[in-house]
């Protein structure tokens, strides 16, 4: 009962974006000898999933989601040493390198997807806006990424998504990374045309797609 109550406090602090409260709740959990992995699974991830779902229903907005993510990061700083000390490790579903296509400065959709991916437990490396194709590749290699995610909000910046796939082919690294594309003018047809591995119309659809891509057999 006390364990459930402690986890509830942890979840509530994260959902409210209360970094101090979340840190204190995580510290209390560890000091009481609680299983740190349980705090990750039943506290942190569940709280972040709740926030993501509330965002989809427009019950909370981007700032609240960012504050919850910050609180989640603070919690992980407390839990990670305890996880390591227990000889365990925290599993992330995968690593994503994300950015907007070359020439595109529209970042909000990309920022929201990055946030939802983080909330879902992915390691996300955000290259920001107006990202050259080669920068996606360099970062993916450096981070040993699973997925490259590219957003474009204009028809004339969509070719930047094609360029990434094209360079992956030219450098014989096409099968090393899954490529997902999105942004208002993009479609599944476009993704097929350029040889991307997936397309998502919405940010939450992007998270589902990332999970599907992580499971694809050809990823090495």
């Amino acid at each position: 009962m006390a364990e459930n109550s402690a986890l509830k406090d942890l979840r509530l602090s994260i959902e409210q974006g209360d970094e101090e409260g979340a840190t204190a709740a995580a510290q209390a959990w560890v000091e009481a000898g609680g299983d740190p992995m349980k705090a990750v699974e039943k506290g942190l991830r569940e709280a972040l999933r709740n926030v993501g779902e509330q965002f989809e229903r427009l019950e909370v907005f981007l700032p609240e989601m960012m504050m919850a993510a910050d609180a989640g990061n603070a919690v992980m700083e407390v839990l990670e040493p305890a996880i390591a000390a227990a000889g365990q490790h925290s599993e992330s579903p995968g690593t994503v390198v994300i950015g907007t296509a070359k020439g595109d400065i529209h970042t909000i959709g990309k920022n929201i997807l990055a946030m939802l991916l983080r909330l879902a437990g992915f390691q996300v490396h955000d290259l920001g806006e107006d990202v050259p194709a080669t920068a996606f590749l360099e970062e993916a290699k450096k981070r040993n990424a699973d997925i490259i995610a590219i957003s474009a909000l204009m028809t004339s910046t969509m070719p930047g998504q094609r360029d990434v796939v094209s360079i992956l082919r030219d450098t014989a690294t096409r099968d090393t990374y899954a490529v997902m594309v999105g942004g208002a003018p993009t479609t599944q047809e476009w993704a097929d045309q350029i040889g991307a591995d997936g397309y998502a119309e919405t940010a939450s659809g992007g998270v589902d797609l990332a999970f599907r891509l992580i499971d694809r057999p050809q990823l090495s």
Binding site: M67, T157, T202
Partner: protein, 455 residues
């Protein structure tokens, strides 16, 4: 008013923030503070509120937000800040009746009031929509020009030039920008409206170089250049380069903002307040002769949802009651051409905006993201509804919007995409097909039954 050189000086020397800190530590907390201080609360029951005191409080909230945050320049990571006094002086000196167009198509854009019987200025066309080929582009623009209610045109984006996909930042972008202007002018001549102003400058332009280069091939100082902010309350040097260029040649700017409901501005109330702040910054930072605002519902990528109606209406009322800089509202609908839903969305949005005091830009069809899914019929419908709504009270508009929303709102997440221009129109005559004419007539008859009087 603070001069443009001073704006640049502040962009170079203003207070430094990281982009995230500006959004999360400056804009978000201040926005929450003014929402509380001025008691701005979303009213889900009234998509067109009728409360002048609320509108005026909202304006004061936007003014305070603007004075506290300023505008963030992403090129320098510095804030272009203004005092409340400077903002009010800017508002005092802002243009009130800019004139666009030439000859018989010369027209003054006025700052309307809520419930005004003055017909709104109708800026019509593609609203950022996408055309595949030059042939489609020319036919669309000629079709737009044939509408007797059009006051200025918004040309589509070209995606192919000489069979090659246009790519931002390459010579293809510059060539597409040049081609857009040449074809747009030619199409308006074909429509017998050579003086009609092109008001969205060049939709194909992504970079400042593209827009400035294309301008030299046929844009006139009686046209207008749309120059936009980024969210939240941001600008960059590419956009300010465009401002410098347009001012030097004696042209006029329409400032643009598209606050995202669900983003940094938060929900409906925050979206309404930040809309006012953009309007004020448009005067000082973009040196605008008019401002164009289009809040977007993040969930659907359009602005015809129930929740977006209130912030659209109350921010328009707040601005129109307190600023003489003309305001335009741009509508994006979710459904595509030749669908019932598309026409219902247009009617709902235009009633909402025009009764609140706005002029109109129309508009984005099928969210302006489906190739060739746009025709001259949708802007024509919007303009006819807009003229019919002029003089309607907000209370009447509120009831009508509540009647129309249930006709489509449950399909916003998965709207019908309709048909392409080529399927809705006769290619040679550029006239709509019989099926579309009948649908158009049926929805107009229904609206007449709700009290709209079409000429």
């Amino acid at each position: 008013m603070v001069n443009f050189f001073e704006v640049i000086r502040r962009a170079l020397n203003g207070r430094y923030y990281t982009e995230t800190d500006f959004a999360m530590k400056v804009v978000v907390p201040k926005l929450r503070e003014v929402l509380e201080k001025y008691d701005i609360r979303y009213d889900a029951e009234n998509p067109v509120p009728d409360d002048d005191d609320l509108a005026d409080r909202l304006f004061q909230a936007g003014l305070e937000l603007c004075a506290e945050t300023g505008c963030y320049c992403t090129s320098t990571s510095r804030v272009i800040g203004f005092t409340k006094q400077e903002i009010l002086e800017g508002l005092r000196d802002a243009p009130s009746a800019p004139v666009f167009g030439e000859g018989t198509d010369e027209k003054t854009m006025v700052a309307r009031q809520p419930e005004s019987d003055e017909p709104p200025y109708c800026f019509l066309g593609a609203g950022g929509g996408i055309a595949t080929t030059e042939d489609v582009y020319v036919r669309l623009v000629e079709g737009y020009g044939r509408n007797p209610l059009i006051n200025s045109v918004t040309c589509p984006t070209i995606t192919l030039i000489n069979g090659m996909t246009v790519q931002a930042g390459t010579p293809l972008e510059l060539l597409a920008c040049i081609r857009s202007v040449e074809l747009g002018r030619a199409a308006l001549r074909r429509a017998q409206r050579p003086g009609l102003p092109i008001m969205n400058s060049i939709a194909s332009a992504v970079t400042d170089a593209g827009k400035i280069t294309g301008s030299a091939f046929g844009l006139r100082n009686t046209d207008a250049w749309v120059v936009g902010f980024m969210a939240p309350l941001q600008v960059n040097f590419e956009r300010l380069n465009e401002v410098a260029y347009v001012r030097a040649r004696g042209g006029q700017i329409v400032g643009e903002s598209g606050p995202i409901m669900g983003g940094y501005a938060g929900g409906p109330a925050g979206t309404a307040v930040i809309s006012v702040a953009y309007h004020l910054l448009s005067v000082l930072v973009l040196r605008a002769s008019a401002h164009l605002n289009f809040p977007i519902d993040f969930r659907y990528g359009c602005n015809t949802s129930r929740q977006i109606m209130w912030p659209f209406s109350i921010s328009t009322q707040a601005i129109c009651r307190n600023s003489h800089l003309p305001l335009l509202n741009l509508t994006y609908v979710a459904a595509g051409p030749m669908t019932e839903m598309c026409l219902y969305e247009i009617a709902t949005a235009i009633v909402n905006r025009v009764a609140s005091g706005g002029n109109i830009e129309f508009g984005g069809i099928a969210k302006a993201i489906k190739l060739d899914h746009l025709t001259p019929m949708e802007p024509r419908f919007a303009s006819e509804v807009a003229h019919a709504v002029a003089g309607m009270t907000r209370a009447e508009a509120n009831e009508l919007v509540k009647k129309l929303l249930p006709k489509y709102e449950d399909r916003l997440a998965d709207p019908p995409l309709g048909k392409k221009f080529q399927e809705c129109y006769d290619w040679g005559s550029i006239e709509p097909c019989q099926e579309y004419i009948e649908l158009y007539g049926r929805i107009k008859d229904e609206l007449t039954g709700y009290g709209l009087e079409f000429n």
